[in-house]
Amino acid sequence: MAETSTRPRPLPQPTPETQHFWDGTKAGELRLQRCNDCGHVYFPPRPLCPACSSKNVEVFAASGKGKLASYVINHRPHPSFDGPYAIAVVELDEGPTMLSNIVDCEQTPEALVLDMPLSVTFEYHGDIAIPLFRPAGSAS
């Protein structure tokens, strides 16, 4: 379910606290963190629980499933994208939200239906894999 792309996306520079996330995407996993004291699941990565300040947190592989929480379709030119493209907030089944793009889907209001189920896919750029989402059940 992986895709290789040579499009020059702006790529992240992992830090020690986010390395596990980017190692995860490279391995085909979407990794989140959970607090072992209060159970809170959170994103983006950090070695402390934003709900209770505990440092007793763990990394786990999330389901990669979520739903389309909201989006815009950007009509202004961007060097990494052809034509209008959607920038979406995905609400993961585990609770946290994350920004992403929706692939394998027309970039139109008619095709991009709020709350539609999504599943993660990964786009490889050398050493970095960017998590993207596609409509759940769509062919790869």
Partner: protein, 377 residues
């Protein structure tokens, strides 16, 4: 009132720490300091820092502050933060303030927080997806709002139409010709569902204010405008991490504190400014300030309540959509509140005594709210 330091600590290690980014150095020092004081992050209601944004620090630690200070004047910034914190605590703006420092000066890991470097959280978790600043990020929650509350595209467009009515009364407004809902919906698509006329202008300009003690105010030539109340807050440097895409936590804390500290209710407000970088901002502002129930502000505007002659005159200079927007529009919202309280606004609200001015910053990252009056408190 005496203010005391009740927690103090440094990072667990000092020297060479290649395993921590700069923001994590702040967090490590903060957690050690919280432990020293026997507190958790949720016990903190004021955040001051330099080098990183106080927004980033608050969100990273899970703090919903009602006072922040990002004064950044070099190595002595933290002395200023302590001084400002004393004043804030004495004023009742915050009870428990956390001042943080962290700097990956040797290892250079994750420097350039606040959006500067590729290692910042925004660059890692929003940049790859083609985010292009406010037009794509400020606007991203609106489709969720439309689905949750049934707001129509026409109702969103109506915000721009009503503000153009106000601009038409203002000789200094950039755009003054009347527009219709169709004009708005037929204007160029910028970032669906936002059309050009639902986005702010980009103009040049400036503004300034001078404040002094109230007892001296009558010695000056202009009619005094008194600060009756104020509030502030920050939520998150990333719109995608807002707790609710359809409401601003920073608006609710800043606006609620401003109204409470002013000792006013909604019925006391004669004039309202809500920083309108995009057409949905007045809707968010009306609801987060409590003038409208959730989901009802679009109809409130559509019904004419905020237009000239309406029950709650809103953005009476024409706003960022029609008056001007230089990038940091908050100063112009404050200027219009001052004009309304002086009685010198081009579209003057007759007899207005109380003005509420709600600002937004860094998209929904931050908010400040000021309540003004022309009556000596």
């Amino acid at each position: 009132m005496t203010v005391a330091i009740v927690g103090a600590a440094e990072t667990t290690e000092l020297g060479r720490i290649p395993g921590m980014s700069q923001i994590q150095l702040h967090a490590d020092a903060a957690l050690n300091t919280l432990a020293d004081a026997g507190l958790k992050a949720k016990d903190i209601d004021g955040v001051a820092t330099a080098g990183e944004s106080p927004v980033g620090i608050a969100h990273y630690l899970g703090i919903a502050p009602r006072w922040v200070d990002g004064s950044s004047v070099g190595g002595c910034s933290f002395m200023l933060h302590v001084r400002h914190a004393v004043a804030a605590i004495e004023a009742g703006y915050a009870e428990t303030v956390l001042v943080t420092h962290g700097e990956s000066g040797r290892s250079g890991i994750g420097r350039g927080g606040g959006g500067g470097g590729r290692g910042s959280l925004s660059a890692q978790f929003e940049g790859p997806y083609g985010s292009m600043g406010p037009t794509t990020m400020f606007t991203i929650g609106v489709l969720r709002y439309m689905k949750r509350y049934g707001m129509s595209h026409e109702q969103l467009a109506m915000v721009a139409v009503v503000q153009r009515e106000w601009a038409g009364m203002n000789p200094r407004a950039s755009y003054r010709d009347p527009i219709t809902v169709d004009d708005v919906l037929n204007s160029r698509m910028i970032a669906y569902p936002f059309h050009l006329l639902e986005c702010c202008l980009v103009t040049d300009g400036g503004g300034a204010l001078i404040l002094t003690k109230a007892e001296r105010a009558r010695d000056f030539p202009a009619k005094p405008v008194y600060i009756l109340g104020s509030g502030e807050s920050v939520e998150t440097p990333m719109v995608s991490q807002m707790k609710d895409l359809t409401s601003s936590q920073a608006f609710r804390i800043a606006g609620g504190d401003a109204m409470r500290s002013a000792g006013i209710g909604h019925a006391d407000v004669d004039h309202l400014m809500v920083y309108d970088a995009f057409a949905h901002l007045p809707i968010w502002g009306l609801e987060d300030l409590g003038f409208c129930a959730r989901g009802e502000a679009a109809a409130f505007i559509e019904d004419g309540n905020t237009r000239p002659g309406g029950t709650l005159p809103l953005n009476t200079n024409g706003g960022g959509l029609s008056y001007m927007h230089s990038g940091m529009y908050g100063m112009y919202a404050l200027q219009e509140s001052v004009r309304q309280m002086r009685g010198t606004a081009p579209a003057q609200v007759p007899g207005a005594k109380v003005s509420v001015c709600l600002g937004v910053g860094g998209m929904f990252a931050a908010s400040g709210c000021i309540v003004m009056t022309n009556q000596m408190p």
